[in-house]
Symmetry: C2
Subunit: 357 residues, 2 copies
């Protein structure tokens, strides 16, 4: 079998995007596809398009030293992520038609509307690109529309990294649990909140814990998305839409963050053998779906109670397998970057199946 040759369009080139291209190099001998980066678009460092392949090492150096990517472009210009996606589609019509163009999306989420990721995904699918994204927005705000569009153009739309980094959640259910119906879930899926609650248990102040998460690249510059429960609500909506056939936005998830949780509450809970955790949950009753994110007081024997620091877990309630859990013991940039890699690997598998026919 010949390894498919993929042309990657990187929209977003922050910590995750840059770790992703390094990871591709690190595990190159294990990959079942060949790849080149044909475009990189950033919010603050401009963009570069080169159908023959961008020098990715130089692109990383430029961004990391605060210089514009346009230096690598033969015709540098101002253009948005959407412009870059459309330009690549025009430049590489054969790759587009053969399904060898892949948008790799890792921009920062606007929680109000799921943008700009949502528009990037839509434009890429319309241009016959496959899409992989670590962004929660598209699946949280418009899963039905985007999945239908992907089917109509016969391309893939994957987003494993939207929840629990590269730990398989969506692919677990889709690929490894056929026929099973998911009736609900409970989980701890916001790392920053869990780290903060663990820190409060140990007597550390909240703002110090948040700063540590920011320094590790896990919390956003604006930590309110985490602390107010928005990040967990977006993930919850994505899970409801994809795993339970829902049609929900983050705004429809009942939401209470941890900003009202006091250090005294956390310590009192601990003293009585219990824990406060930010719990995301959803359930189906009489055909309708409800979802919430809120701090809960958990007894010691609750599997979510034992999750400390950067641990995440999701427990699915199913009809044929009872309750099953998937647990992430620690998270870092490599795992987020791996999410993109695993999604691309699935696309590559499909292309190999095609070429065998």
């Amino acid at each position: 079998m010949t390894a498919p040759e993929l042309a990657l369009v990187l929209v977003g080139f922050g910590h995750v995007g840059r770790r992703f291209v390094r990871l591709l190099d690190e595990v190159a001998e294990r990959l079942d596809f060949e790849w080149r980066v044909v475009a990189i678009s950033t919010r603050r460092h401009g963009s570069v398009v080169d159908a023959d392949g961008v020098d990715v090492d130089r692109a990383r150096s430029l961004v990391e030293s605060g210089q514009p990517l346009g230096r690598l472009d033969s015709e540098p210009r101002e253009r948005s992520g959407l412009d870059v996606i459309r330009q690549v589609a025009r430049l590489l019509p054969d790759e587009a038609a053969e399904g060898r163009l892949v948008l790799v999306e890792s921009t920062i989420l606007d929680i109000d509307r799921g943008e700009p990721a949502l528009s990037h995904v839509r434009a890429a699918l319309e241009a016959q690109m496959h899409v992989v994204t670590v962004n929660k927005g598209p699946a949280a705000f418009a899963y039905d529309e985007l999945e239908s569009l992907a089917e109509a153009v016969d391309r893939e739309f994957y987003f494993e990294g939207a929840v629990m980094d590269g730990v398989p959640v969506f692919n677990l259910v889709r690929e490894a649990m056929p026929v099973v119906r998911v009736d609900g879930f409970r989980g701890v899926i916001n790392t920053t909140s869990n780290f903060v609650l663990s820190a409060l248990e140990q007597g550390q102040p909240l703002d110090q814990a948040v700063r540590e998460m920011q320094a590790r690249g896990i919390a956003e510059a604006d930590p309110s998305l985490d602390i107010d429960g928005w990040d967990a609500a977006a993930k919850t909506a994505a899970l409801v839409n994809v795993l339970m056939g829902g049609s929900m936005t983050p705004h429809q998830v009942q939401r209470t963050g941890i900003s009202e949780v006091r250090a005294g509450d956390v310590k009192a809970a601990l003293a009585s053998g219990r824990r406060i955790r930010l719990v995301a949950r959803a359930s189906r009753h009489d055909g309708s779906l409800t979802a919430s994110v809120e701090p809960e007081l958990l007894t010691a024997d609750d599997p979510l109670a034992g999750l400390a620091d950067t641990e995440n877990a999701l427990y699915l309630t199913t009809d044929l397998l009872g309750e099953i859990g998937i647990v992430q013991r620690s998270g870092d940039l490599t795992q987020t970057a791996y999410a993109l890699l695993s999604d691309i690997s699935r696309i590559s598998l499909r292309l190999r199946d095609w070429t065998e026919r």
Copy 2:
């Protein structure tokens, strides 16, 4: 797409086999394949072969009332599981050539040699059948040989039910964690031992706990396979062989069961906030693999310590995803039967891909 029509050969028709055929009926409208049972072979109730389809409801009634299956056969005769497999292959050469014959294996394991399952799997693959089994023996004793044979004849050999019932372990890694390397694991994977240890914590005697597990169809008639750690050792060997590229039998797993664990030890551990659990583990050092099953004293914050009663969990150490866990909160016959169903669903998916070409 046309749903593939599968002809199933059931070798073993005990609790699991009978639950499996009922489950197929219960979820019929969700399946992407059609099926008929063309043969059933049992150890104590004879066998039946009918290329047009066995009346499965009557077969269940006969076995459950202690009567021989030969009553359903136009030419009843004495024959082994191997005889039945070979007879079906002769009767249905077109189905065999088209990859529509599936051996559904659920016999009882002989821990010394992995028989009779191993011979059943080998014979079925040689006869161009796909194989699905809940049996640990084949993957624990001869994974390399059988996987090579399956590749040579272009058929599938699946065994998701060998560990943690239908909760995906093998398919999780194979389908949802591409490129990732598994460097080791730790798990609680023998339900009877965990139930007994939990019962001892609550002051219940060992033999009473074992009888309860037997009544629920979870412990074997001969509980020594569970109590002496053989069941966990067989699962450990299967995990090492499949997930870590090993070539080990259960006899090469360092093994200590729970028969030496005293109620006093369990209670003393509990009094100091700890737990004794039967832990299966494996690791890779300098290219060589070691594996063990033994009771371990775990601190309260160990994710395996919190597993009570019939809970199972497996934590994988990986290079790209750190440590990730899959947890089964409870197990029953439906979940074991589902393992067979999910494996067949994968085969059906492959057949659909073929017919689309």
